[in-house]
């Protein structure tokens, strides 16, 4: 064995930290799948006021910052969407209650997680996480039809140890492909979906739109608007953005709005200078 940098006790703690962070993120995906987002924000995210102010949620088009904005988008807007999706069911069946107990009818949101890559900071205070989603999504309609797609994207997170417990601090949910079930992706240019998502169709080759798979409506209006992830260019910045071994979290390179996630190389260089 090589020269030992940590004490045995520290090594044991780091061993558990690794498992705890994986566990925490697994819980996030459980909540995400079941629309239990309020519970997620309450239980899994940072709690200390100073950290709640700087918490962020990134999507392809920007960052929601602070727990209030995150909650408005992540919980309230989703709830509104679910009510609008429930309405046609209630119109078709007047006996069906237009209330919260029936929300999520016809919805499946399965973000199956693959390949979690994570590093605990050498100072033990934070962790950086990335995983790949190969999931599926279904939106049912009152006429018995459903829009089903395979959903893909990378998810990134900065996690923080708050009073001995790991919590989500910065989360980025990117999305790059929404392959319609039963269709060849090569046929996609000719295809338009029921959401009105144009996605990566022909004209976008020139005037591409970062709202690839989720509609602009679904992504909402982030607090900080910038291209966080442009599906058209794929994982060009993956290597720069993925977690690497580190001593302590540098705000210039974290997964929050002040970090350089998704930025072109020249922007990153400039920040380093």
């Amino acid at each position: 064995m090589g020269k030992q940098y940590y004490t045995d006790d520290e090594l044991v703690e780091r061993l558990w930290d690794y498992e705890d962070v994986k566990q925490l993120m697994a819980k996030h995906f459980y909540c995400y799948a079941g629309d239990e987002r309020r519970k997620e924000l309450n239980d899994l995210w940072v709690r200390l006021p100073q950290n709640r102010r700087t918490a962020s949620l990134g999507v392809n088009t920007g960052f929601y910052t602070g727990m209030e904005d995150i909650s408005n988008y992540y919980v309230v807007q989703l709830s509104d969407l679910r009510y609008s999706q429930l309405k046609p069911f209630c119109d078709a069946d007047p006996s069906l209650d237009y209330g919260k107990n029936n929300l999520g009818r016809g919805i499946l949101n399965n973000s199956a997680v693959y390949s979690p890559l994570l590093h605990i900071a050498e100072d033990g205070k934070t962790a950086r996480y990335m995983c790949y989603i190969q999931g599926a999504r279904a939106v049912g309609h009152a006429d018995g039809s459903a829009d089903c797609r395979f959903m893909f994207g990378l998810v990134y997170a900065d996690l923080m140890k708050e009073q001995g417990e790991w919590k989500i601090w910065h989360l980025i949910i990117t999305n790059d492909h929404a392959i319609p079930a039963g269709k060849d992706y090569g046929d996609y240019p000719e295809w338009k979906d029921s959401f009105g998502t144009t996605g990566q169709n022909g004209p976008l080759r020139v005037h591409h739109d970062p709202n690839n798979s989720y509609t602009e409506e679904e992504l909402g209006t982030p607090t900080v608007q910038r291209t966080v992830y442009d599906p058209f260019f794929g994982w060009e910045h993956l290597y720069e953005d993925m977690p690497h071994p580190y001593y302590t979290l540098n705000p210039l390179h974290d997964y929050g709005p002040e970090g350089d996630f998704g930025m072109p190389y020249y922007e990153r260089e400039r920040r380093n200078v």
Partner: protein
């Protein structure tokens, strides 16, 4: 004899590090960052091996050449061809290795067995991964028209050996058994595989390029409608004392040299 606390701790940390190396490999491979993989996480010796069904690359130099000059070079040429057209002017200046790619051989939970001597670990895993290209390619992937989007599923099994050298875990053997490679949810993958094999039973190319291999394949069996299910798998690691020809994905290449 049982292991001491320190030895067990070393093994537990080794499991996590081996898992991390395998996952790191999957991500950097997905964007053709071959140097970042082979420079960083591989054991650079003559007993390093990298095996696919078409053959075995023996020794770090051969592996490095095939991946950085062969596979990596091919990816770069692909991208230059795209960038050389008026279709993608905004591509110019992008990273030619990774731009447009967005798919991963996503790994399911890895099975990892550590040697009792603490000097090696063995991993078995499977993927129902994907290979995506937002750009397509007029020559290589142009069946659906130039620049049609490209999304493929890639189903594989993996066996890998790792060694502990100078205080660090390193990859020494990788063995890939591909079983399906098909358009995502757009075709019957079993029938497609049958046709590919039927059309060219001697097929030994990798990404369309000839490789330098020490042992020529086929070394693994891709899916076939007649094959027994066990023929697709490498052996899952059993508890073992140390890396040797009985416990290795590359018999004959287990000395650290």
């Amino acid at each position: 004899m049982g292991l001491s606390f320190k030895e067990r701790l070393h093994q537990a940390l080794g499991v996590q590090e081996i898992e991390r190396l395998k996952i790191y490999h999957a991500y950097v491979h997905s964007v053709s960052y071959e140097r970042e993989e082979f420079d960083k996480i591989w054991f650079k010796g003559e007993n390093s091996t990298w095996t696919h069904w078409f053959g075995m690359m023996q020794g770090f130099e051969m592996i490095y050449y095939n991946h950085t000059m062969g596979e990596g070079h091919m990816g770069v040429l692909d991208t230059y061809e795209k960038a050389d057209t008026d279709e993608f002017p905004s591509f110019r200046g992008g990273d030619v290795r990774s731009v447009g790619s967005s798919g991963l051989h996503g790994l399911t939970e890895c099975y990892i067995e550590m040697a009792k001597d603490g000097k090696s670990g063995r991993l078995w895993a499977m993927t129902a991964g994907v290979m995506m290209d937002t750009l397509g390619h007029p020559k290589v992937r142009g069946e659906k028209g130039p620049y049609a989007k490209f999304g493929e599923a890639s189903w594989e099994y993996y066996g890998a050996d790792f060694v502990y050298v100078d205080g660090e875990w390193k990859y020494i053997h990788e063995s890939v058994v591909p079983v399906f490679h098909n358009r995502y949810d757009g075709e019957n993958m079993g029938q497609r595989q049958y046709k590919v094999t039927d059309d060219n039973p001697e097929h030994t190319l990798w990404r369309g390029i000839p490789c330098r291999v020490g042992v020529k394949g086929p070394l693994a069996q891709m899916y076939d409608v007649y094959q027994p299910v066990q023929h697709l798998l490498q052996e899952c690691p059993e508890p073992y004392d140390h890396l040797d020809d009985e416990h290795s994905y590359s018999p004959g290449h287990n000395e650290l040299k």
